[in-house]
Subunit: 351 residues, 2 copies
């Protein structure tokens, strides 16, 4: 009987015995702590390997007051954006010995601090995560940051955030510059009447992209015609509606910049239905380089956001902050590179 059944696993004690050292030494080696001879290190590692030893997370958390759990809070609506970030995050967690769990949160807009606190406590009661990843539209909510802070949970935000939020961890791309890049691409092609489809008002990125657009237009000596600026909600339907609107205009734009790919695809769909040629009659640019960008025809010109890396980096920052001796409220902002991907939906303006 004894061991070897595969079911019951080896404990630290077993490893210690097999390696001929004390339990504490095993603990030291496994946690990469200093003050152990290289020889013993080897021995312990071999013993652990041979016994197929896996540390018990429960025991560890109980003793160390850590859960080794990171929670990704997202909105109750799956999108390729969220899923890609999540994917990168799970991957990084696995690599670092953490576990990623997912929470869904209803829209909290306008809720009081007390309500928000209770929502989070309900969510995290069972197992308090060591850290939380906040995605749009929650990344920019200062109340949520306050509540989490109060609960002693470290936070990392992904995506642009208000100036007032400039504390804590942040991982993003330069949305502002990316928008400028788009407009520049379009004006280089000779476009002058450029339409814009905005994102959801409750997401900071929507505003940053719009202001980048405006500034770049101005820099190019062009005016922003308010008739060519349409509201949106980062979804296909909004893009489609905007497209229908643009095409119905007496003087339609020759190019449209949509704040994300789903909306750009919607604009293209409106064109396709009406026999408007893309890019011959209308150039279209998106933002994100989501899956849909290469699953539509023509292929979408867009800004590539390294979604996978954003997620992975967020996790690395978070976990790094646990181990860093810096004050727990270490503010750190990392900006990843974006890239303009020129495909088939942009060209010179008609005639």
């Amino acid at each position: 009987m004894a061991r070897g059944t595969g079911t019951s696993s080896a404990k630290m004690k077993d490893v210690a015995e097999r390696a001929g050292v004390s339990i504490k030494t095993v603990s030291r080696v496994l946690n990469n702590e200093p003050h152990v001879q290289e020889k013993l290190r080897q021995k312990v590692r071999e013993a652990a390997e041979a016994l197929d030893y896996v540390p018990s997370q429960s025991a560890r958390s109980l003793r160390g007051n850590r859960s080794y759990d990171i929670n990704l809070v997202c909105h109750v609506a799956g999108s390729n954006y969220v899923n890609s970030i999540q994917f990168g995050a799970v991957f990084a967690c696995q690599e670092l010995g953490y576990q990623l769990s997912i929470s869904l949160l209803e829209n909290l807009g306008g809720k009081s601090i007390a309500e928000i606190r209770s929502a989070f406590e309900g969510l995290m009661r069972r197992r308090k995560p060591d850290g939380v990843v906040l995605l749009a539209p929650y990344a920019n909510d200062e109340k949520i940051g306050f509540v989490l802070n109060e609960m002693g949970i470290q936070v990392v935000r992904v995506g642009p955030v208000d100036g007032t939020q400039n504390q804590g961890l942040l991982v993003e791309i330069d949305d502002y510059q990316a928008s400028i890049d788009v407009v520049r691409h379009l004006t280089n092609l000779g476009h002058k009447r450029i339409g814009f489809v905005r994102g959801s008002q409750d997401q900071r990125s929507a505003h940053v992209r719009y202001s980048g657009f405006c500034v770049a237009m101005e820099a190019a000596g062009l005016v922003v015609d308010q008739e060519l600026v349409r509201p949106g909600a980062f979804d296909f339907a909004a893009g489609y509606d905007a497209g229908v609107h643009f095409l119905g205009l007496k003087q339609p734009p020759t190019a449209v910049f949509a704040s994300n790919d789903d909306m750009a695809a919607g604009v293209v769909a409106a064109c396709t239905e009406r026999g408007v040629k893309v890019p011959d009659d209308l150039s279209i640019v998106g933002f994100d380089d989501a899956e849909i960008a290469t699953r539509m025809r023509p292929f979408l010109t867009t800004i590539r956001q390294p979604l996978h890396d954003l997620g992975a980096r967020a996790i690395h920052e978070l976990i790094g902050s646990f181990n860093s001796s810096t004050s727990k409220n270490s503010a750190h902002r990392v900006v990843l590179d974006h890239e303009l991907i020129i495909r088939d939906t942009t060209g010179s303006p008609p005639k």
Copy 2:
């Protein structure tokens, strides 16, 4: 100082003191065990409430009980299919007081039991989940089922599974019947030359859908021309390739049934590029009713799979099985309804 800081929480001991009972009594009450006077029950509950007591998950699982954690194992490639199921699962978990965590697993095809065991142990032994949700392509892997079973982890599979696997929990739709529905729709329209794009060979659903296709063709008195059956991998590119192949044939099919929406969209894209009209020249049907089905033009005719419900139901079955007194290996199979959604990619054959 003392308590009230919100950060440090009350323990069972504190509750016991406040209620004037022993620790064990508190434990009994909180776990709804019998043999406690109603009076004490009340007292304990009040004390717990007043102290805002939350049991420590780590201590609980260390002592050998449940983790209230359910793990969703999926392949290292996000897809709308997986994400939709996951969404339903998270939602259900939240409702039932469980937490959903995600694991990514490399393809295990052809690996030995020992290798699989070690992969899972690495994944789960850190914190053993109470249950695991297995999605394609892992749902049908009997070795994985064996290993998990050996580890004492309850499993629920989503999607079709081999006959040999007829033990344990299973949630699926009737893929076979759904395929028959598709062919019937096409033959009713008058199609006789019908092409088929297969799914990944390692997923059971691919085979079930194909055999449904064959049977229905035969039932309609049609032959399955092997030149019109193309391999696929459930992704856009495979559909596109198949489409290119079909359109290059001397005698192309008048309709194509692709085993999922991504591939159907690929076929449509091939048509769009070549100026082939859908559905006038070629009818196309997909499977899943994923996001892309309504983000492409024309809208895709497809089979709707209740992905959200499949995920939610899987969780309910799993958690239900924990509480049921039935033997732990309760086999249960639930089949959810599918629906043929007729949109704009199907019509009568040309001429």
